[in-house]
Symmetry: C2
Subunit: 415 residues, 2 copies
C-alpha cells in the first residue's frame, strides 16, 4: 500500500503537470531566471541549512562531505546552471516530422512533456537545482527525494523555488521535495504507478540497483561504467598513452572514466612500458594479467574480479589480447555498456569496433571522458542512460520528453 501522504504528493504533481505542459517557453524561461535569482537572494538561509546538515554529518568520508558542502560560489554555480537551462532551446511543441498518409491525413509527431519525473539521489544538493531546472524547462513536474544527510539543504533550495513559483501564480507543486528520508518512503515512491511517469536514480551503483530492482514505475537506469580502452595492433603510441591517461586520471571517480586497458599482443612489448609509465606517473595502480606483468613487472596481479569491477579510483587493470575479436569479446562480456574506445589507425578495425561493441557510446581515437551531455553539445544532462529503452547515453532536455501524434483531417473515415 502506498501511504496517503505520498499519494497526495503524486496527485499534486499530476495536477501541476497538466498546467506546466501548457506554459509558453517565455514564461518557463522567466521563471528559471527568477528561480536562479531566488537561489542567490536566499543564500543566507540555504547556507544556514547546509551548515546544520554538515554539523550532523559526522563519521562520513571526506569526499562525501565535500559533495554535501555548499558555498556562496557553489550556489552561484547552481544559479548559473539554471540560467543556462533557460538559454537552451525548448523542445516542447516541436514537431519532429510531419507527413501525409494515404487517406490524406497530415500526421505530425510532436514533442510533449513526459508528465511527472521522479528523481532519487544522494549527497549532492546541486541535483535539486539541476533536476528542477531541467524538469521545469521540459514542462514536467518533478518529485525529488534526496539523501538524509542533505535534507535541510535540499528543503531550503526547493522551498526557494516553490516560493518563486507561487509568487508568479504557477502551481508550486511543479517542484516537490519529499521531506521524509526513510528507506520505506523511498520504496513507496518507487511504487507510485499512475503518478510518476519515469524515475531516474542518480548516485552510487548501489542506489541505482536498488531502484531498478524495487521500482514498479518505469526507471531509466543510469550510471555504472566499466569502460575499456582497446589499443589496436596498428595504432599511435603517443595517442594511446594520452587517451589512456586522460580517460583514467582526468576524473577517476566518474562513470565515463576508463577502468581497463586492453592491448594487442603484437605491440604490447613496445607500447606497455610507455603507457604504464605515463599512468604510474599519475599515481595509477596497474593490475595486469600474466602477459602484461611479464612486460611491466611493477603491475599487481589482476584477480578474476578485476575485469568486472568499476573502481572509480586511480586503479586500472591491463589485459593483453591476440586479436581485435578477442578484445571485442572480452569487452562485450565485461562491459556495463556505457563507453568503450578503440585506438587504431586501421580503417576496418575501427569500423568493426563501432559496429560490434554493444555500448551507449563507442569511440574511435578519443577519450571515453567525452560521454557527457555538455560535451555532446546538449547544453544539459540529467544523467547517462545505460539501458536501451527510451534513452541511451547522455540524456539532455529531449530525453525528458515524450511525443504525441497530432493529426489534421477534413472528414476522413477509415474504409
Amino acid at each position: 500500500m502506498v501511504n496517503h501522504k505520498l499519494q497526495l504528493v503524486g496527485e499534486q504533481a499530476r495536477t501541476a503537470a497538466t498546467t506546466l505542459g501548457q506554459l509558453s517557453t517565455t514564461t518557463k524561461n522567466e521563471l528559471l531566471e527568477a528561480m536562479a535569482m531566488g537561489l542567490v537572494d536566499n543564500q543566507a538561509a540555504i547556507l544556514q541549512a547546509n551548515a546544520t546538515d554538515l554539523a550532523e554529518a559526522t563519521g562520513l568520508k571526506q569526499s562525501f562531505v565535500d559533495r554535501l558542502t555548499l558555498t556562496e560560489s557553489r550556489i552561484a554555480d547552481m544559479a548559473n546552471g539554471m540560467r543556462q537551462v533557460a538559454g537552451l532551446d525548448d523542445p516542447i511543441g516541436n514537431v519532429d516530422k510531419m507527413w501525409h498518409n494515404e487517406a490524406g491525413l497530415l500526421i505530425g509527431k510532436q514533442r510533449v512533456p513526459l508528465g511527472v519525473i521522479g528523481i532519487i539521489f544522494e549527497a549532492r544538493p546541486n541535483v535539486t537545482a539541476d533536476a528542477a531546472a531541467l524538469s521545469f524547462k521540459t514542462g514536467n513536474a518533478v518529485i525529488l527525494r534526496g539523501g538524509k544527510e542533505a535534507i535541510r539543504t535540499n528543503i531550503a533550495i526547493s522551498e526557494t523555488f516553490r516560493a518563486i513559483l507561487q509568487a508568479h501564480d504557477i502551481d508550486e507543486n511543479a517542484i516537490q521535495m519529499i521531506t521524509d528520508t526513510s528507506h520505506e518512503t523511498a520504496n513507496e515512491m518507487m511504487q507510485l504507478v499512475g503518478y510518476i511517469d519515469v524515475l531516474i536514480p542518480r548516485g552510487s551503483q548501489r542506489l541505482i540497483q536498488r531502484v531498478v530492482e524495487t521500482a514498479k514505475v518505469p526507471v531509466i537506469e543510469t550510471g555504472a561504467g566499466n569502460c575499456h580502452i582497446y589499443v589496436d595492433a596498428e595504432s599511435d603510441l603517443k595517442m594511446a598513452a594520452d587517451i589512456a591517461v586522460n580517460a583514467k586520471v582526468q576524473r577517476p571517480s566518474v562513470c565515463n572514466a576508463a577502468e581497463k586497458l586492453v592491448i594487442h599482443s603484437s605491440i604490447a612489448a613496445e607500447y606497455l612500458p610507455t603507457i604504464a609509465a605515463a599512468l604510474e606517473a599519475n599515481d595509477v595502480q596497474l593490475r595486469g594479467d600474466d602477459r602484461a606483468r611479464s612486460i611491466v613487472p611493477s603491475m599487481v596481479a589482476a584477480e578474476d574480479d578485476d575485469w568486472a569491477t568499476e573502481y572509480n579510483d586511480l586503479i586500472m587493470a591491463v589485459k593483453v589480447v591476440d586479436s581485435e575479436d578477442e578484445a571485442i569479446a572480452h569487452i562485450n562480456h565485461y562491459s556495463t555498456k556505457h563507453s568503450e574506445a578503440i585506438i587504431t589507425n586501421n580503417y576496418q578495425n575501427g569500423q568493426k569496433f563501432l559496429q560490434q561493441i554493444d555500448a551507449a557510446c563507442v569511440y574511435i581515437n578519443a577519450s571515453t571522458r567525452f560521454t557527457d551531455g555538455f560535451e555532446f553539445g546538449f547544453g544539459a544532462e540529467i544523467g547517462i542512460s545505460t539501458q536501451k529503452l527510451h534513452a541511451r547515453g547522455p540524456m539532455g532536455l529531449n530525453e525528458l520528453t515524450s511525443t504525441k501524434y497530432i493529426i489534421y483531417g477534413n472528414g476522413q473515415v477509415r474504409k
Copy 2:
C-alpha cells in the same frame, strides 16, 4: 527465483541477439522470404496442429474460436505479411543525425536492435508470425509466450521458422516459443531481468494490466482505448455523423474504436437526432446523460461507470457539454490516452484541442480508427503504445530499435 529452464531460454536469446544484430539487411530479408515460404510449405502440419487445438477449445466464445482458427487463406495472409516486412526499410544501422562537437568529435546517433523482445499474447496465432517477422527484421531475438488454447498451432509455426533459420546457419534461438503455458511460467518470464530488454503484451486489457503490474523487465503498455469524439459548436453535421459512425461501428472490438460521443449543448438539439439515428441504424446502443436523453429519448440512461468504460462493442455513451473546456476536462479525466478526436470548423478550437488533450493520437476532423501502424504508413505494427516512455502511439519497426552513439575522433582528450 527464475526457473532454470526459462533462464536458459533467456541466455539462448541473448546469445542469438549478438549475432542477429550483425546480419545484413539482405540476409534478413532472404530469411523472411524463406520463413514465409516455409509457412506455406508446412501448412498441412500447421493446420493439423490447429485442428487439435480447436478440438480441445470447448466452451469458448465463438469470437475467441474464430481468432484461434487457421485456414489456408489465413496462413497465406501470414506469409504475405512476412514478405511485406521483408520489403520494408531496415532501420538498423541508420544514423538519425550526426554532428561535430566543440572538441571536433564527429558524433552519430545510430539505430541498433533493442536485443531481446518478449511478447505475451492470447488467442491469435498470427501474432507468432507477426512478432517473429518484426523482431527478426530489426535484429532482435524474440521470446514468445502465447495462450494455451493455441499452443500446438504456435509451436508448429515457430518450429517452422526455427527449422528455416537452422537450415540457413542462423541461430534458431532468434525465435523461441515458450511451450509451458502455465501462469507461473508467464510470471517468471516477466522477471527475466537482464535477459529480456522489453516485454510487449498483446491481448485483452486484463492481460496487459497483469503484465504491467507483475513484470520487473521493462514493459511497453499497449491497448486500452476509451476514445472520444467531441462535436464542437461550430462543426459540420454530416461530417460529425459520418465520423461518429465510422469510429464506432467500422470495427467495434478494437482499441481505436470510439466509445463516447461528447457534444456541445448549442448544437445538441439540432445534431443529436441525426447522429443518434445514424448510429442506431448501425445497431449501436446509445447511453446518454440527462440532457442527451431529453433530446433523444430512445437512449438508455448512462451510469457513472459508463464514462470510463471501454465497451469494445456496439455501445456508445453520449454526453452534452457547455463548452470546449468542459469537453477537454471530461476527456482528459476519463481518457485512456489512446486516440481522441474533435469535429470542428473553428481554427482556435481545433488547435486548442490538439494542444490540451493528453493522448497518443489527437485528431481534428477524422476518425480515431486511423490510429494504426499501417494507416500511419509504417508498413507494420507490433502494437499501439499508450505509455509515454520509449514509444507512444502505433509502433512500427523503428520502435523496436534503440540507438548507440558512434564517435569518430583523432586523438581527442577531455580538458
